[in-house]
Assembly symmetry: C2
Homo-oligomer: 582 residues x 2
């Protein structure tokens, strides 16, 4: 019993018990591949966040190990990712100057704060909050972020200075500095970009043609970028491009991750609180989507609240070892999965690999041009950009379209924080607005059945004395008055009506405000000589209504099914109408 | 055609055309009664707002006339009301010192800003926003405000200084100054309070016993407070109580309302924006509830968006004539109605009466003790206090109870602005939370019918191969994942299931996120050898689904009724189970 509890908090005890040689060798192979892929990616995302390259490596070591202990996904690889790195840059860009000590401290603090938020959300089981980010808002946000990230990297491809956190700022800054373009950098950057696009699209088919197995071809494709890194580094070294203005990564300390502490300045913490919250939620959503996609393939289960704890621990780890905010990344996790990782131990081995890289390989990247890292980022993020979501939502649901379009526009114009916040609030507001003006159908009996449908859509039988209204929404404060107005408008002037049945098959809740409206409707209809009945009231709603006076005061009856109501209240076949649907 | 348009913007042209001598005399009588009642009330609410007494009169003159032109209610009396006066005091109390010029200017500005907000809400037809204040939140807020108002007036009854905008501040301030109590003031205040309570409860039965008609008794009861005003004023004058520390109204300028301008200081406007918004919404909700209650009695209609324009004009009027925020008040409107007012002209006559009072009667109230005005306020607001709402919601709905209890507590502890804001946000959040975890029922066929109900509540027929799930909520982003998890958990390990029917009678909307979840469910069930079907999909939902790939990719069918699905998918009578409800 106790062990089960322990396992639920430390999933490591779950898979650790059955760990064997076979799993070990699979995990080792996966780790080597992922390590090779992670080195350039980690450096690149540090660059994107405006931080020294080595912080990208540091952010990939401790977090991976901590996630392996606390996380529930067996394939998720935790570390710096594109969107979170962009959000980090946006959050701390206004607090400190890029390249200063204050900037790095702010990044470390942001990771710590975000870790605490994630941990608390996990402990208090608030994982469900992430459900309030609708798919279209996330898709729109990721697309717009991809565009922003690509735009932010153009300066490295051109070899110029430019800055900004919105598309307009970035483009105008790029345009101003365009005359300073360094053509050697541009040549390197463009070649690297084109090569990387080819690796992504053309390498795999080419390798398969050469007779390699799909798995090997997949892995070579994923680590292909290393070729670009090596080649461009050699060119810069061989032709002494650094002296000709090509910017390079330069000195990277040859050391294990340092022990660091986040700042506890109340001022800094309060400034970072909202960005940290957004980074936590966005990071969690990204991570859990990846984890669930991969888990579904192997029929494993992901526990969202435990994931929050795993990611929280990873971020706190990042802030204590010179890193910056991290989450479960899509591309690295897929590589890990494709490379055959069986348990989170693969992650731990990757961490060891990266630690070895941090102490021994950093001199090798001295001459690595920043343009190559920028090319890596651009190629990676452009795969995230999908404006197709605009067309898809336009066709299916205008409400979702408005949410996506607003999120994309605001993210591009005002930056990531405003974009995603307004997107979330707007999608909730649109939902509330819809529920405040529910669809209401007048229904009649479908011939030769006991089924009732909208008189305007189906051929149905009705009775002039019996008006049946189906309200297609839970009744609550936002639509209580709407229902009242609708009913008064409908019955005024129709002197045939003797019975009004509210068909409640779609009413999942009647709150206090709606109950008061129903009482008012009951009284007012009584004054007009009309009896109010209810039909098909659900169990949970009935349970509540029984506690209310309304139950006794109702002038009519409560019928189990609409057909029962119809049989009782409209028995006279002679006067029935047969409606033809329009 | 044009006249109709004109009438809808200026309802005065509607009733103005048919105005006659009979209506005129009724309106005049009502105006005289209301004027008498409004004088002490207006002075008292100015006191409550921390403003000079004459501003209460000014706030009752121009607003009444403007509402008569633009408003749609024929009985609503616009002017200062208790809750809005309290909110005014809370809003400007932190900006300026009571009694200073800055304080009055802030009040005038608040009225102007609130007027502009109301006007804009009316023009953009945003009246529906008021529906998002649930009845329990309003009831809780009014109750807590009543307590706060009564507590804020105790200092006048005791004749001491005290201040604060929360219950704790008020009580501790009262306690500190308690030794300074002026016993003459206390005697006057307590007597006035007891007398006014008696007028409210005991006067009408006494008058009826004397043989007066109900109408006359009602009117005398409403203007009874005048007796307290006159008597206490005479006592203070006759015994020279003012020299013995009894605080009096003192000098009130003998003049028509002055022309004033609100401040256009951006700093002041931005500080007042949120309070003005809250005052506008609360004032609108109070006003429209009163207007609709009275209109229902005479079968007249209230147009919420035109009401916003009427109240907006009234508040702008208040800010241009030395007033403070106003709205349609309950007690004054009821008097107006009971006194037989037929058209808004009654309001205009009341305004004339108050203007006469402002230029000629103000010297008479020089000796009016503030304690009497405080007694008027206390007796008026204690009728608003109804803690019964706590019990009522506790019995009916725990969610509503949480919303009411939180609103009451926060209003008392942190003041009106936080109380009502958190109440509104909380009630919306609770609604969203409920919809994010919908009730899901497994259903079976009710014997001898075509009706399907919850297997745990009813005796129903089921088939092991056919699982029918009724989701009692619209499917949208907040519950899309919940549905996925529920279905996977339910089908895993139940190898009998061949068909899963989602009964959509309560599904009023399937948004893009939920559509993607349904696609995932469809694919996943297909892998498990289970077909997914839908039944009783509503017209508007069907219309949208037809545009989606899901419609083609669905492994099963879409049935008009659940009974059709049952007939087709569970034809074999031999294997059916008969469930006994628990």
């Amino acid at each position: 019993m106790k062990l089960t509890k322990l396992k639920s908090y430390f999933p490591i005890f779950d898979w650790g018990q059955s760990y064997n040689k076979h799993a070990f060798s699979n995990d080792m192979i996966a780790a080597v591949i992922v390590t090779i892929m992670l080195i350039p990616q980690s450096l690149a995302y540090a660059l994107l966040a405006g931080l020294p390259a080595e912080m990208g490596l540091y952010a990939s070591i401790a977090p991976i190990i901590l996630y392996a202990i606390f996380g529930t996904s067996r394939a998720l690889a935790v570390g710096p990712v594109a969107v979170v790195s962009l959000m980090t840059a946006a959050a701390i860009g206004n607090i400190a100057e890029v390249g200063t000590m204050g900037y790095a401290v702010a990044a470390i603090t942001l990771a710590g704060l975000s870790g605490v938020i994630l941990l608390l959300m996990g402990v208090f089981k608030l994982g469900f909050l992430a459900n309030f980010l609708s798919h279209p808002v996330i898709a729109g946000f990721i697309t717009a972020s991809g565009v922003l990230i690509a735009a932010s990297q153009l300066k490295h491809i051109l070899g110029i200075d430019a800055h900004g956190h919105t598309l307009l700022e970035l483009l105008s800054s790029l345009f101003t500095h365009l005359p300073e373009t360094n053509y050697k950098t541009l040549a390197l950057g463009v070649s690297a970009t084109l090569f990387l696009f080819w690796v992504r699209k053309g390498l795999k088919p080419a390798l398969l043609k050469l007779g390699l197995s799909t798995r090997i071809a997949n892995i070579l494709t994923k680590i292909g970028p290393i070729a670009a890194i090596v080649t461009t580094t050699l060119i810069v070294w061989g032709y002494d491009f650094a002296a000709q203005g090509v910017r390079i990564v330069g000195d990277v300390p040859q050391a294990l991750p340092p022990l660091t502490l986040p700042s506890f300045s109340p001022e800094l913490l309060s400034t970072l609180l909202i960005p940290a919250l957004l980074i936590s939620v966005i990071g969690f959503v990204e991570s859990i989507s990846v984890a669930q996609t991969l888990a579904a393939k192997k029929r494993q289960r992901i526990e969202p609240n435990q994931e929050l704890i795993g990611l929280g621990a990873a971020n706190i780890g990042a802030s204590l070892t010179g890193g910056f905010p991290v989450t479960g990344g899509f591309s690295r996790s897929v590589v890990n999965f494709d490379a055959g990782a069986e348990t989170p131990a693969a992650g731990a081995f990757t961490a060891i690999g990266l630690a070895i890289a941090a102490v021994s390989l950093t001199p090798l990247i001295y001459f690595l041009p920043k343009a190559t890292l920028a090319a890596t980022i651009i190629v990676a993020v452009l795969s995230l950009v999908d404006f197709g979501i605009l067309k898809k939502t336009w066709v299916y649901s205008k409400t979702d379209f408005v949410a996506v379009a607003t999120t994309i526009l605001l993210t591009l114009i005002f930056g990531v924080e405003i974009g995603v916040s307004v997107g979330v609030v707007l999608s909730i507001a649109l939902f509330l607005y819809k529920t405040s003006r529910p669809h209401i159908a007048e229904v009649g009996l479908v011939p030769d059945s006991q089924h009732f449908r909208n008189i305007h859509r189906h051929k149905v039988i009705t009775d002039p004395q019996l008006l049946t209204i189906r309200i297609d929404e839970s009744l609550y404060f936002a639509n209580a008055r709407f229902l009242e107005d609708y009913i008064y408008d409908r019955v005024v002037g129709d002197c045939h009506i003797k019975h009004l049945v509210l068909m409640c098959s779609a009413v999942n809740e009647i709150d206090m405000s709606a109950l008061e409206s129903l009482e008012a409707i009951n009284t007012r209809l009584h004054d007009l000589g009309i009896k109010l009945h209810l039909s098909e009231v659900k169990g949970p709603v009935t349970d509540k209504l029984k506690h209310a006076h309304f139950w006794q005061e109702l002038t009519g009856e409560i019928f189990l099914s609409q057909y029962d109501a119809y049989k009782k209240l409209a028995p006279d076949e002679a006067i029935k109408n047969f409606n033809h649907f329009i």
